[in-house]
Structures are given as C-alpha cells and as structure tokens.
C-alpha cells in the first residue's frame, strides 16, 4: 500500500512543476490552455492526496473547469488563428477533406 501511495505522490509532485513550466513557456496559446486544464485537474488530485477533498472540488470546478472555459472563450474572441500552432493545424494539408460546408 505504501509503495503505491508513495509512487502516486512522487509522480504527481514530479510532473506538476514540469506541466506548469510547459503552460508558461509554450508559444501556442491553445496548447497552453489545454495544458492549463490538465494542470488544474492534476492539481485537484494533489489536494485529494493532501486529504482536502473540499479544496479539490473547488480546484476542479473553478480552477480547471470554469477558468478553462473562460480561457477558451477568450481565445475564441481574440482569434486563436494568430497563434502559430493552431493556425497551421487548421489548414488541411492536401486536397479538400470529406467535410462539407454546413
């Protein structure tokens, strides 16, 4: 039991700073938002391990969910096409796809 629990904690503690670094350093805004949502949910797991389920609830709902949705909305308004990665990914690489314009 101790090994698994210890491994769980160490893994969380090791990955979270790395993820935080990625969120801050990435140039692609959309990628940053997606990583931020993942970061919030992992953070909520940390609160769970610290025996604070109420804080975990708040972190998941406000930190990841609500803030994530607001950030996505903001991104839509400022136009995510300006950022590097999102723009290039939107262009179909070869010929028109099966998508029909709706």
């Amino acid at each position: 039991m101790n090994i698994s629990a210890g491994g769980f904690d160490i893994l969380l503690a090791a990955v979270l700073p790395l993820l935080a670094w990625y969120v801050l350093s990435t140039r692609d805004l959309f990628k940053a938002v997606a990583l931020f949502i993942a970061y919030g949910l992992l953070f909520s797991l940390i609160w769970v391990r610290l025996a604070a389920p109420d804080v975990a609830l708040a972190e998941a709902a406000i930190g990841a969910g609500l803030t994530g949705a607001l950030l996505l909305d903001t991104l839509g308004r400022i136009g995510s096409r300006d950022t590097s990665g999102a723009a290039s990914a939107m262009e179909p690489e070869g010929g028109p796809p099966d998508a029909r314009e709706s």
Partner: protein
C-alpha cells in the same frame, strides 16, 4: 484490498501522463482537447478508487465534478474557441 485500489490508481495516473504526450504533440486543437476527455474518464476512475482506499466518501463528489467538467470544457471549446475558417461566426 486497499493496496490493489492504490496500485490500480497509480497505474491509471501513469496512463494519464502517457496520454499527455498527445496533448503536447497535438497536432490539431481537437487532439489537445481530447485531454479533457481523458481526464474526465480516467480521473473519475482514479477518484472512485481513492475514495474506497482512503475511506473518503467526499471524493465521489469530486469524481462527479470531474465527469461534468470534461463535458463543459469540450462544449466551450467547440462553441467558442474553435471557429473554423469555413464556418461563419453566427454569434
């Protein structure tokens, strides 16, 4: 049994971290949004296991929130963030 619960929970956490590679690599925004879904389902499973192992029933409510938030972020993504060039913004 608690050892089994924690072991499976650890395995699922490793699974999420492996899935994060897809978020980092993309290539499209839709690929990255799959992370929300990954966390929605896998996070719920982890929390249910921890609730049993740590005898903390409140974690089931956290799992409930996880389940709802995955859907919420995906809706926000589809309706707001990702307005494809072919589609005229009708807002």
């Amino acid at each position: 049994m608690d050892g089994l619960y924690l072991g499976v929970a650890l395995f699922l956490l490793l699974n999420i971290l492996l899935g994060m590679v897809r978020v980092l690599r993309g290539p499209s925004p839709a690929d990255r949004m799959l992370a929300a879904q990954l966390f929605g389902t896998t996070g719920v499973a982890i929390l249910l296991l921890l609730a049993e192992a740590l005898a903390a029933p409140a974690l089931r409510d956290v799992a409930l929130v996880f389940a709802l938030l995955g859907g919420l972020t995906v809706v926000a993504f589809v309706r707001r963030a990702w307005s494809p060039p072919t589609q005229v913004n009708k807002e």
